[in-house]
Subunit: 436 residues, 2 copies
């Protein structure tokens, strides 16, 4: 093998900044075939911390890009020289020692839930509908699900009073609430929390001594940034001067790249005592280290190409186009679903999904009962058989008794063909099973 | 970016069979950035099953290599055309649906232990000394460690009567033994089980209704194949016609490649009922899928280059040289450690380690007690400070009361410098703390 030759040829095939980044990462990591620090490569955790802070080096001298000292380190360059590159993030210090790289967000969530379930009465507040990772992990760790319902009538809003009432009910049943899970942007709802609601949730965690588990993996999937921006819970907690313990999760499996198979993500701990950080580190060490390919993916996510970089124009064009297509497709699909008889669908300002509600004919509900299936599962299976479209029935995410939904991704490029098939199927299904 | 150009240039830089394999894997996987089946890519699991069976296609027509139908599939080519490529493996059918690809062996062990610990009295038999993954995972899942000691005087042999007595003691204490962990080749001992012992252990699992968890991750790290060959527990169980439930673990983090950072491995279930397989699949699904880079690593491990492949000569030379160097180094290091005052070391026929026993001066033991440390931890810390050599104290692996050991890897190329530093340190340590 002639490695030097290939390296030379790669110079012609990849933009300069991509090769510089690869060399920089190779220098820091050594080999992706070797174990890293169990918490993840230190250099990448520093970059994550800078991403969370929202501070990036934009000094004209700093070309090619160089690692920027993050806030807890001495700063050789004055702050004025380092404008925020990502104004959507926090503006508050982040400590790389409180960042854990993980094999996707699910690995982090599993670790945290395993630590929080300390006795058989431990419960965790979970939104309904929810991504089933939470109920599944709680079941595996013998923890108790304390459900709280999102409000479909109010565009899947999260309600503090609803959570309060779930807590009261749990305490009456001798369940000890340990943590509150919030998914923002929502999965499967795509809803975004406004800051006033987030402040109320933080105060509620203060009152009830809850750890806040913020699943923020869809933070860059925003279809209406002006009206529905993303605000991190870290920013709200710091702005309030609150001491609520927070763990926020992010992942490379979402965004516009969706590098799911590499298994990369991170969580950041805020207001978590050092002895708990040490315990999390010890538990992470049992699995040796997160996959290096995923860690490299995290680095790419938190340090995207910047204006002036050779790869920036292509990255910017592709990223903007994918964001715009997703936003437009979501809007069209929601409108067309809403036009169908018996279907109502909240137009989602974030994430990758729509979660339409379907009113099913009584005969369909009876047919499902006879087949030993949930009615929305019957609907989803017939949809799959007839169109090849795979949706997840609402019974997998949780819904109110007697209601039916399904989760639909908005990733399919041919929206007309895709929604057309859905529409034809829906009309036929209603006809076949008689109108309710 | 000019991808076609790079692909064309790569043709000059990589051997033909390497490019053919990359294309084949790309065809089967699609993208390593996408999720795979939660159990792992089907094509790779089929290759794992063939590796376990020991059957590989060597038909002259089959060039370039093509996927070989494995035993549970129809076989278009007669068996006579498919001689065993890896005679060290089983010769019994393996079902790819009973193979789970994992993020290293540790992820598989964690999954199995979490399933086996079904109530607060559940215990698992663990060898002492052991790789601490087992006790750590049991602690995290609130399972009980039932220790059984390996016999240092008999080259770290595993003794069925010793295990029997550990079971009796556990049952007396109302602990319910669920499974027997056997590490073969041993970590940290490097010992290899002979078939007679393996048969006794299988019979013992039958008698006591134990699941056998066989950690076989060092199966290719053999320093004395003639006198100490590796035999899989699957082969022994099949040869005996036993119905003992077995889960055997393998990993890409060992062998002579040691691709630890990719996080790849697998476990195979034998005599495990379908409903348990379904449960394991459900639990694996919570983590979505194993890292694709690790899965590709598993494929490379179970399908090494073959005679006739362009990359074979280089692969063979490098592999043989690394195996030989490791074997020779282990022998030299064991001999020199045994020549040191107060040190005895079983010469290890497998794995990557030596586990010497050290007799420490009474003054050193007292100094450690005052410092709140285990005596072998004090030894290891002083060794690290003075030489930069990092060993793991025996107290991390478990040892008999009043005994002290450390685990030493045999991976360092400059054996003379390495052992020389160890020797000088040991003599100084004994001198400093006075002879016992």
């Amino acid at each position: 093998m002639e490695w030097p030759k290939l390296a030379e040829l790669a110079r012609d095939a990849f933009p300069e900044d991509v090769i510089a980044r690869a060399k920089e990462l190779q220098g820091e990591i050594g080999s992706i075939g070797a174990y890293s620090h169990s918490q993840g490569v230190s250099f990448i955790r520093k970059n994550v911390a800078r991403f969370i802070e929202g501070q990036f080096c934009r000094h004209p001298c700093c070309n090619p890009p160089h690692p920027l000292p993050f806030s807890s380190f001495p700063q050789p360059t004055p702050r004025a020289h380092l404008p925020a590159f990502n104004p959507e993030r926090d503006g508050y210090p982040s400590d790389p020692n409180h960042v854990f790289l993980t094999a996707g967000a699910s690995a982090g969530v599993t670790l945290l839930i395993s630590v929080l379930i300390s006795n058989p009465n431990s419960g965790i507040l979970i939104p309904i509908p929810q991504y089933p990772l939470y109920t599944a992990t709680l079941a595996a760790h013998k923890g108790i699900v304390i459900p709280y319902h999102l409000d479909e009538e109010a565009d899947w809003a999260t309600s503090a009073p609803e959570i309060e009432s779930a807590i009261r009910k749990a305490v009456d049943e001798r369940v000890e609430p340990k943590a509150l899970v919030v998914i923002n942007p929502g999965n499967p709802t795509g809803a975004l929390l406004d800051e006033a609601t987030m402040e109320r949730l933080v105060r509620l965690c203060e009152q009830h001594n809850l750890v806040l588990l913020a699943d923020e993996v869809y933070q860059s999937n925003l279809h209406a940034r002006d009206t529905h921006p993303f605000t991190s819970f870290k920013k709200v907690i710091r702005a309030l001067g609150s001491s609520v313990p927070l763990v926020s999760f992010h992942s490379i499996s979402k965004g516009v790249t969706g590098e799911c198979g590499r298994r990369g993500g991170y969580f950041e701990c805020t207001n978590i005592p050092d002895d708990i950080i040490a315990l999390l580190y010890k538990m992470a060490s049992v699995g040796l280290c997160p996959p290096l390919a995923g860690q490299v993916g995290v680095d790419c996510m938190v340090r995207p190409p910047r204006p002036g970089d050779a790869s920036y124009p292509q990255w910017k064009t592709e990223t903007d186009a994918t964001h715009a297509a997703l936003a437009q497709r979501t809007k069209i699909m929601a409108a067309r679903l809403n036009a169908l008889p018996g279907v109502s669908c909240v137009d989602s300002p974030g994430a990758l999904y729509l979660y339409p509600r379907i009113r099913l004919p009584a005969a369909a509900i009876e047919a499902a009962r006879k087949a030993g299936k949930q009615p929305d599962t019957l609907y989803a299976l017939e949809l799959l058989d007839e169109t090849g479209i795979c949706v997840v029935p609402g019974s997998g995410f949780g819904q109110k008794e007697g209601q039916y939904h399904y989760r639909l991704t908005c990733l399919c490029p041919g929206v007309d063909e895709y929604v057309g098939a859905l529409e034809r199927f829906h009309r036929k299904f209603v006809e076949r099973h008689g109108s309710s």
